[in-house]
Amino acid sequence: MQRTKRKSLLIILVTVWTLIAIYGWQQIYGQDDKSLTKVVIGYQAGDEIEIAKLHGSFVKKMKAKGYAVSFREFQNGSAMMQALASGKIDYGRVGDTPPVSALASGTKLTFVGAGGTRSLGSGIVVTKKSWIKKASDLAGKKIAYTRGTSSQYMVLKTLKKLGLTTDDVNLVNMDTNSAALAFAKGKVDAWATWDPYVSKAELKQQAKLVVSGSDVGVQNRNFLVSPTSFASKHQELNSLVVKYLGEDMQWANSHTTVLTKKLAAALDLDRKVVQRMLERRTFALQKMSQRAIKEEQIISNLFYAQKVIKKKVQISSYVEK
């Protein structure tokens, strides 16, 4: 009796398990359309690509041109650059810093397009309890940042402007998730980060943005990059992607209410947090401008001078013509 009961329990469990696993297999491999050329685009939560994904018209327009677009989410820019280096994604939306580090370490990538800046929504936030009232109070304080992301550039630029060096502050390198927790628990005094983390910290933890990108000349522009081997062979596709994404960005700028609702649901964030993020940001995506190239060159030069990267990088030679 006991034995048959055990046996039937085992059979039921294994059958249910297998059925669910088969359902999962269908979820992954079920909806492939073979007639279209595949294009894989990497993105990060809440960025231009995610907006285009939510809006949906980009995918439709690309489909009409014979391309099946699929999206890949990455936790941060440096992970995305790793995937890009091995050609696993065709395009990627990334901040200003990761492509510079990637180029310096030998990754062959091409800047295909430039996005808007985020200078008002990026910066260094301080906790309510930290007694930091202005940028110069940061001296000697514990500042969290993430190596290889734009927060590193933010910290270096801020220190430079204050006339301090990295020895004058206590810099802690941690990934964004850990930094968010450490900041919320008051384990660090300040945190160099970007929206929506900044707006979330401001609204949920009464944090204060003591240094914003615009204070220290950090544009924190977004870029669309592609592996050089891919970009050089698909120039028509490059301009299509930039054009269609640019159209979606115009939609994003003029439909803030709808976008707030959609983004808040997609990111599982409070609407107020998303609203503040959208208020201080203008979306765009266009071909690389001289100004954008110059901004990247400045980052590259500062990183080289500070020995963050070991090789000098001439940005203009990695730009889609």
Partner: protein, 253 residues
């Protein structure tokens, strides 16, 4: 009397988890813990319900289960075959064992860049990581089970004139089975832990992705939901392994 003690025995394992949930809920309700850092169990339940309604939970759950199963089957079979080879043949043992032992202790996390480079960011790399995780427990236990067979048993088999195949099916495999099953049970646990690691690599589906995505904006309710799902999955896989053991080792008792 006897019946009563059985019911108590049944309930005892659940006492601690349920008690903790109750204390937790009341601690949040009484504002001893702030809601932002630790949501109440009821809120996690609401979150689960919302995710079920959007279809996200089912999708991610089934995809995770698929990856885990394929990885486990793949890694488990390779581990078993290697274990049998090395357990039965001295040449194989000398050739392969020390290499396997070296590979065994490499942390899975450090393999990720290598896997991305060779296998990309698709399903292959995730399944491979799970397979690597499941390979070693099965290998070690199979190998150990086979090498620690009573030599007198083997001697007896040989004196009966058993062929190599018969020796394996009648003596080696049955006597190593209990140890092999321990390996499988352990591998089922490792399967889930490696899967979380695997699913943090540029994935856009799976429970590991859900947890990671929630972590990005510190959505504690979803994070805790994922932890609970992992715990339940762990319990279910253990239940399967345990029942499998009881069923296959019936002859021993």
């Amino acid at each position: 009397m006897n019946k009563k003690s059985i019911t108590i025995e049944r309930m005892l394992p659940w006492l601690l988890p349920l008690g903790m949930v109750l204390i937790w809920e009341s601690a949040v309700r009484l504002n001893i813990i702030t809601l932002d850092l630790l949501p109440a169990p009821t809120e996690i339940f609401v979150d689960a319900w919302n995710l079920l309604r959007t279809g996200e939970l089912q999708k991610n759950l089934s995809i995770s289960l698929y990856r885990a199963t394929v990885g486990f089957l793949l890694g488990g079979s390779i581990g078993f075959i290697l274990g049998v080879l090395n357990g039965t043949s001295k040449v194989c043992r000398l050739l392969l064992d020390s290499t396997v032992q070296m590979l065994r202790n490499i942390p899975h996390l450090s393999l990720i860049p290598l896997l991305i480079l060779f296998m990309g960011i698709g399903e292959t790399s995730k399944v491979t990581l799970v397979a690597i995780g499941c390979l070693f427990p099965v290998y070690i236990n199979t190998y150990h089970g086979i090498t620690s067979i009573d030599p007198r048993l083997m001697e007896m088999g040989r004196s009966y004139g058993m062929s190599r195949v018969k020796l394996f099916t009648k003596i080696i495999f049955p006597s190593a089975l209990p140890t092999i099953l321990v390996g499988i049970r352990y591998a089922l646990g490792v399967m889930w832990t490696t899967l979380i690691v695997a699913e943090t690599v540029s994935s856009s589906s799976g429970i590991g992705y859900m947890a990671n995505d929630a972590q990005q904006f510190t959505n504690m309710d979803t994070i805790l939901l994922c932890i609970i799902i992992y715990a339940l999955f762990g319990k279910i896989s253990d239940l399967i392994a345990k029942n499998l053991e009881d069923w296959l080792l019936e002859w021993q008792s």
